[in-house]
């Protein structure tokens, strides 16, 4: 066996980006015979991603008339027609936690907070936020250790800056769908450059070998230092403050883990994606979304993580999409009250998002892995925590599932489930297919048969 003899470098537009210096390059025992998770002939890893769009969907143009295999795609899903055979369309699922249940308005904040947790978030716009753990974070806790990043949380809009976000709900709810535990939302990254740098380092080619080792040694001592600080402080402070320091310590430990796990990234040079380092946040929405999706594909492809989430916007977004002729705000037109102009507007937006989804699926599907593609080895859920935007209901959600995590289930079908079947039953099933057995998740009352 031999180490990697040449520098493993990503060549970009005028930038040469080095992958983190790997133990393997110095021929460490770790490298001996470690199969590439990407090109290896063994079992390819399973990946999961959850994508979210706000304000529900105009359901008449989403739900096919027929169930089973012989269903016709309606207008909104047409852009992903080429992936019909790799898709399962799941109708009839319900997100009960997003309902008011006596808490009044605030469907948007509630629906995104409940989307991946199945919990009923506590109505507050200040302290004492409380939700549930989200499926991606649960999976990350279970299997995240196998990759450098347990999970990646991405999106387009950062947390809102001001004001209560939705009828008495904190912005922490409406701008975060990932929750590490009931009180800790996981902020998302919106800058593609930052994602790239996290994945592949800043590309200081000279910063290698001894210098790099020394730098890491220093970094570890700094982490040790602050960890001592935080532990000592935590013992002295009251309960509310302790919670903050626990967040701090958790963050520090995560980073330590990444530092130690840097050697887990093994990408043969031939398989290194030829992708330029993005130059900041694009001003155009479409370009921004596509770049973030490309980052997601890179992250999966290099097995930097197996779990990702992506928010097309924050909850209740009133963004307009003039680029596709949708001049009215998204939220405003979702309450169309049968007004034709508004319906046309919301349809355009719904269809546009699916067009962008197509970009993601296409990229995933063009990465060959073993006999199939990266898409085949993934399960990609796309949908919203609101059903029909006009009604703001939380039953019969628009949920589409792409890929099968390596043939865990059949695809190419439209399935309809009995009224009030919890969306979280699907999560129990997906976790199961991911190799994580749970008795229940959120408000689940069984495991979905798909």
């Amino acid at each position: 066996m031999s180490g990697i003899s040449r520098r493993t470098v990503l060549r970009g537009l005028g930038t040469a980006v080095a992958l983190p210096a790997l133990e393997i390059m110095s021929g460490s025992p770790l490298s001996a015979g470690t199969p590439s998770p990407v090109s290896g002939s063994g079992d390819a890893p399973k990946r999961m991603a959850f994508l979210y769009v706000p304000n529900g969907i105009h359901m008449p143009e989403w739900t096919p008339g027929k169930t089973g295999r012989n269903f016709e795609l309606k207008k909104i899903l047409k852009p992903v027609a080429e992936f019909k055979s790799k898709m399962n369309l799941l109708s009839g699922l319900t997100l009960n936690g997003a309902r008011a249940l006596g808490d009044g308005g605030g469907d948007h904040a509630r629906s995104v907070a409940a989307y991946l947790t199945g919990a009923h978030p506590r109505k507050t716009d200040g302290k004492d936020i409380k939700n549930g753990i989200s499926i991606d974070q649960l999976a990350a806790e279970e299997i995240g250790k196998q990759t450098r990043f347990s999970s990646l949380e991405l999106g387009i809009e950062a947390s809102s800056q001001s004001g209560r976000c939705d009828s008495g709900y904190s912005c922490a709810y409406s701008s975060n769908m990932c929750w590490r535990n009931p009180t800790t939302p996981v902020a998302k990254e919106v800058n593609p450059t930052a994602v790239f740098d996290r994945l592949f380092g800043k590309g200081k080619v000279k910063d290698r070998g001894e210098a790099k080792l020394k730098r890491e040694k220093y970094k570890k001592s700094i982490l040790d230092f602050v960890q001592e600080d935080a532990e000592a402080l935590k013992r002295k402070l009251g309960a509310g403050d302790q919670r903050k320091l626990e967040e701090y310590l958790y963050a520090v430990r995560q980073i330590e883990k990444q530092l130690l796990g840097a050697d887990k990234l093994y990408v043969p040079e031939t398989d290194v994606p030829d992708y330029p380092r993005p130059a900041g946040v694009p001003s155009q929405y479409e370009e921004h979304v596509k770049l973030m999706m490309d980052m997601m594909v890179l992250a999966f492809q290099t097995d930097s993580t197996r779990i990702q989430t992506f928010m097309f916007t924050n909850a209740g977004s009133n963004r307009n999409y003039k680029q596709v002729g949708a001049k009215m705000g998204h939220h405003d037109s979702s309450h169309h009250r049968k007004n034709e102009d508004k319906i046309a507007n919301i349809e355009k937006i719904n269809t546009y998002h699916v067009t962008l989804l197509r970009h993601f699926l296409h990229r995933l599907d063009s990465v060959k892995e073993g006999d199939g593609t990266l898409l085949d080895n993934s399960m990609i859920m796309y949908g919203s925590g609101i059903g029909d935007g006009d009604r703001h209901n939380h039953s019969n959600l628009p949920i589409a599932l792409f890929g099968s995590a390596g043939k865990q289930y059949e695809t190419g079908r439209h399935l309809t489930f009995p009224k009030e079947t919890p969306l979280t039953n699907l999560y129990v099933r997906l976790l199961d297919d991911f190799g994580i057995r749970v008795d229940s998740f959120g408000d689940s009352n069984g495991k979905l048969d798909i």
Binding site: A158, G163, S221, A251, N320, K322
Partner: protein
Amino acid sequence: MPGQILPGQDLSFQRELYLSKVQPLVEKYCHDCHQGDSVEADFDLGGYPTADHVLEARDHWKKALQRIRFGDMPPPDDVEMPDPDRQKFVQSLDDLLNKIDCTGGTDPGRVTIRRLNRNEYRNTIKALIGLDYRPAADFPGDDVGYGFDNIGDVLSLPPILMEKYLTAAELISRRAIVTSGFDFDLDQQTLGKDLQGDGSPTNSLEKNLFTSGTARLRVNIPTDGDYEIEYVVYGQQAGNEPVKMELIAGRKSLRKTSIRAEEDNPVTLRKEHRFAKGFRSVGFRFLNDYYDPKNRDPNRRDRNLIIKSVRIRGPLGREPNLPETHQKIFFVQPGKKLSRDKAARQILTRIASRAFRRPASGEEINRLMKLVKLAEINGDNFETGIQLALQAILVSPHFLFKIEKPVPARQVRRLNDYEIATSLSYFLWSSMPDDRLFRLAHQQQLQNPSVLRAEVERMLGDVRSAELVRNFVGQWLQLRNLKELSIDETLFPQFNDKLLESMKKETELFAWDLLRRDASILEFLNADFSYVDRRLATHYQLDQVSFEGKKPEEFVRVSLAGSRRGGILTQASVLTLTSNPTRTSPVKRGRWVLDNLLNLPPPPPAPDAMELEDQDELKGTLRQRMQMHRKNPGCASCHAKMDPIGFAMENFDSIGRWREKDGSLPIDATGEFPNGKKFKGPQQLQQLLLSEKKDEFIRCLAEKMLTFALGRGIEYYDRCAVDKIVNHVKANGYRISELVIAVIESEPFQKRKGTSP
């Protein structure tokens, strides 16, 4: 200072009130739906036999109060509650939930440790290090609670942010501290072999003085001053004494030294010397040659002096080319009188104390010294060691969080001077205390009310208080939401990001003007001036404003006396941020007034309000359409309070331009308060707010400012403090500085309660 113990609250007033006034009304109007077998909204009134039970569920009851106040409860289509009953209900329930005895020791509340938000982080780095670290703008957004982004409970620290803090610390310390290539006017390195005079080169690099003699070099001294001569030498030892050498400058002997070092371990010697400008000579003389060819040990036969290299640099004492950030940190240098360790300790003590906003402990410095040592062990220089320690300081929880000393359970203590300094500076400047505040804290002067007052006035007068406008006013009035708006630019071709920026700037400059003049806070509603640039002047049709001699983007203060504008409700920023992308929204405007000027946020819409599926197509002007919509009694009660306020602003379109018509129909800008008072147009609305709702407005502003100053939400027990602030402001001409001072002098600002055990 010993803490004060809080007395338990006496609830006899509340118990009496509940039984005599609240409960009868609850039974009469609420029991139908909220008691018995089928309880609406999970709110079972059977569970509240006494006031104690009610107060345990205070938050629930507060929501009920809000709904009763807005006429949303009891449901108007179901139960009729006459106005006198409603007033009585609201008054007595409000007293029950919120009235508190202000004569005894009141609860100052507690504040969860607050992480620096990204704006505070950037400002603090600027003040601490002297660098503007822009990537701070890239940190993930800070979560918002109670309308502000500096709330301890809400500000979280996800791993992704911690990563960014680490990267930032590394970058900042690298930029701040120079670790190599110190820029001296002269930094001349000479290899031994290049020395002139006696001796001969060995192994091509060194100079071997094998007989007594002198090797010299010439150096061109750029200016008079102290220079350091650093020379690396060793000896080939022989005989019964070590190699002896002399360092010479010109003809002057500087130092005689015995060199015991040998080839495998050469010694570095340094000597400072004052040189005059011009070509000078530096010499190395070998003093004790020795040769004994008969020695049994062939390695001990010949004594020679070997010179490996010489470095001369200077002038010392001034390092003009080091960045200011570096000089600020290295305020002492290790040297003759100060060991490296002592210098490092002094440097770290100063920077850590400033970063932690209180004196750093000896133990903390000891631990930081370990990092300095670590760098040394790894062959890095002094500066790198300090750099490493600085990195650790910048990611320490003591820096990233504003931490106050814990208070024992049920006790109350006054903040110490350093904590006051920190609270003050983050409130008024969104940044760390400056040197003067630190000095006053050190002298324990900030407990002294007159000193504190003088400091507040100084701070408000300082340009850094622009941060108070940006962060407090910007969030209070929700100006920050402007950048997230999407306005339909085909309907409003005049609209663009630059105009949006001008709108925001107008309101900021306006507020800044009030602050600088220490004006009355009532001017927010009745000012007769504002600020416009060319873009806004056109937008407002202010043709007579002269921009002669002004730069393209410059704003001028304009008088609005006698015009249609004046006060924030007529400013394009507020009018635009309360509009929809394609049209105005009287609902949003009305709600904005209730929420931000009167602190009376309407309750959220009823759960079924959004699910009205079969509403007929609505026709007519916006007002007519909305009136039809309000026919639904479930919506009507609240909208009757929001919409009429918003209608008064209908003469301003959704980007704040004046208009006479909405489409083809004339605008009707009459509005009405819930109490029936009618008005027309926003200026009358503002006047009415001042005459009828002045106390509510002041209270609203006081509560918002207290929230921002404390970094926590306002609780019922803050009522005494808020009352005091309101009274103080009213008694002192409504001046802004008096509002700020009253907030700072308030108990919740000055004191903390311990957490319950």
